[in-house]
Symmetry: C2
Subunit: 479 residues, 2 copies
Amino acid sequence: MIKRTIVTTEEHHMQRVKIAEIYHSMSSYDSKTITVAGWVRSIRDMKNFGFVTLNDGSCFKDLQVVMERESLHNYEEIAAQNVGAALIISGEVELTPDRAQPFELHAHTITVEGISEPDYPMQKKRASREFLRTQQHLRSRTNLFRAIFRVRSVAAFAIHSFFQERGFVYVHTPIITSSDAEGAGEMFKVTTFDLEHVPTKDGAVDYSQDFFSAPTSLTVSGQLEAENFAMSFGDVYTFGPTFRAENSNTRRHAAEFWMVEPEMAFCDLEGYMDVAEAMLKYVISYVMKTCPDEMAMFNSFVDKGLEERLQHVVSSDFARVSYTDAIDILKAAQKQGTTFKYPVEWGVDLQTEHERYLTEVHFKKPTFVCDYPAAIKAFYMRMNEDGKTVAAADCLVPGIGEIIGGSQREERLDKLTKRIHDLGMEPEQYKYYCDLRKYGTCHHAGFGLGFERLVMYLTGVDNIRDVLPHPRTVGNAEF
Amino acid sequence: MIKRTIVTTEEHHMQRVKIAEIYHSMSSYDSKTITVAGWVRSIRDMKNFGFVTLNDGSCFKDLQVVMERESLHNYEEIAAQNVGAALIISGEVELTPDRAQPFELHAHTITVEGISEPDYPMQKKRASREFLRTQQHLRSRTNLFRAIFRVRSVAAFAIHSFFQERGFVYVHTPIITSSDAEGAGEMFKVTTFDLEHVPTKDGAVDYSQDFFSAPTSLTVSGQLEAENFAMSFGDVYTFGPTFRAENSNTRRHAAEFWMVEPEMAFCDLEGYMDVAEAMLKYVISYVMKTCPDEMAMFNSFVDKGLEERLQHVVSSDFARVSYTDAIDILKAAQKQGTTFKYPVEWGVDLQTEHERYLTEVHFKKPTFVCDYPAAIKAFYMRMNEDGKTVAAADCLVPGIGEIIGGSQREERLDKLTKRIHDLGMEPEQYKYYCDLRKYGTCHHAGFGLGFERLVMYLTGVDNIRDVLPHPRTVGNAEF
């Protein structure tokens, strides 16, 4: 066997200690000789001694390393390294309870694992987020993006934990689809055709020659497929990428984003709202507990009131109001002098300005608006007894607007087929969906959470491009 | 507010009890009156009384319900229900330690929530897996598929837990990509063009008019993007869908499948093998502990030796052998009379027959084969000191063959650019990847686990179409 490097993972002979581990079990490392490996955040050369600030990505905090010219044979080499260089450092831990950082590492040996060339784009000076979007392969080395993407990871795990603890089954619904989940939303086409020579037959594209022998697209939602599984497992959820080919260039829209879509059998609209509220509180609590350093950074540098606001959400009940009452509230606000750009009238869809008034000004906390007019909602939502509203509810949160949309699903076959017919949709496309109503149908409900919007809400970051590892938007699929 | 149904989730007023909960806390339900909701597995009418077997998807086991003609006003209606009907049942729990099932529910009231039409395709008789592939929206109601998809969900969560417990950061690498991760693998094209009228300019497709202003495809691997994040977080992993547009119709290949791709900084080949081995053992243990009923069913009806084999994997060290030694073992087997269809010669890629001989006959356990000839491996794998092999290792398991492929990544800029050049690849496509070698490069390694192969290994199911909720293969994108 060929000889390997000595620096390996923790699992391999424990030769390397991660910085997070030292912070976690500080006293057990007192006066211990250890090896760490990471990247230089800064180097200060004080002539006879110097400091290296090292980060290994295992936690937000850095490690302060002290080196002495007298005892370090390659002191000059190390002192000359640039920000971003990879170093392997062996030395002794000294607890320093009286100083700014709780411990230091006194270096015995420092090896340069990889230099950082002088044109390194991530210098110490503050770079704009716009510039960093052109450096997506390097931007997670900054404090801001390291914090964002760790919170993203921790929030994703919190979502899985929440549902798995409650017995929900995780379903990987398909990405490539031959159906159009909502009859809405522009979709990306998927093909193996040579685009210069698309085969035709009788003047139309000959899809029998395409990979799937049918026109296919990227999914806009896994809901309809998730319902298949809710009708056998009871409670299920999806968590995967979804796509919209909309030519919109806003801070809140991306062409590729991740969605969480739970579906629950024998559950009504109140039940969905209970689960959604519990889920948001769980995720917020989990992230605040797991990422205190990251959250403190957001609170200081991104969004001053963030931590207080999130704490408030966790400890208070969400507001619940009917669409009809919400319209009355908005009209009353108009009478009191509030002006809205868009009209407020029973039957209109709520605009972001209306949503934000309700959740930020009126209720001052997350708010479910329920029982919307059927005309402005999707075909699968359950018709209420009044014959004009559907059992839908959107969850609005301060600073973001809509973060969750959900509904009871129409479980009555006759009402569902009538609606499909009235809207001029293709019944054949919904054959399987209707089958669920023929064989053991039941009251059920579900919702969709835009995961990026949740990460924005958790971090205070206001552009979706900054919470996606490599965002895809109009004209942008680089990296 | 509009009145809702009374049956809601557990979180809502605790009005409904899931069957899993009764099995979990049996004695606390003794003589309690509760409400359950689920679907009929079978009904037996014994004239004066009858039995309903109910499943609500919360666990593999059913609930036995006893109903009496005398006390149930709609006994006839219930006795006439078909398999698959949805019922809501209130009654009293009676522990029955002396009978086949540990408790029964004595029904006070039974409400038909949704009938099952007589043409229900999931009748009690055993349907073939081929037939069930035509009923993908209903097949998870069978014992087999309910078990498969629960194990899939639990295994997915085990993977997240394993990595999160070890401080790995979960990265959502992009699905739509403008690069070709491996220079191998046929890719699906993604476009918003009208395929009947693809715009051209100077005789070629005018991609400046497409959504991303560039040709884009569905990713075949998130590895290269994951490396971006490994160079800031140290340890990261992806878990998402990947795609191959290969026209192959085998039991082991699908066009859309899920991959787990960890990347670890300051890690060598041994380190990767340690992590991969620990991960497999963790997931197997977790699934066996969490899904004992499902595993027992697979062991009885799908793959007789399954549980013993998995137990053996958990408790023994994986074999590790160099490619060169593996070739010698195969040659020795040939001398002893074993015949292989494909030639065995240093330099050839190992075929499934070779892999299975090594892991099933020779080592009789999971086996890592390492240090393959450079010529048969990808450009990013680290060249060994011998100048002809690379630090790659594949993990082979009995019954499946390759389940994991991984390597140390070439971290030396000069060697990487030479290899890109030698293979005639486009250097411009790998600019960002090479940047990682300019700014703080370090030894690092990673691997890819085909998640469906893992589920096949865990369940003994031998066709990938039966472990994907809605499989996509050549000619199939329905459901």
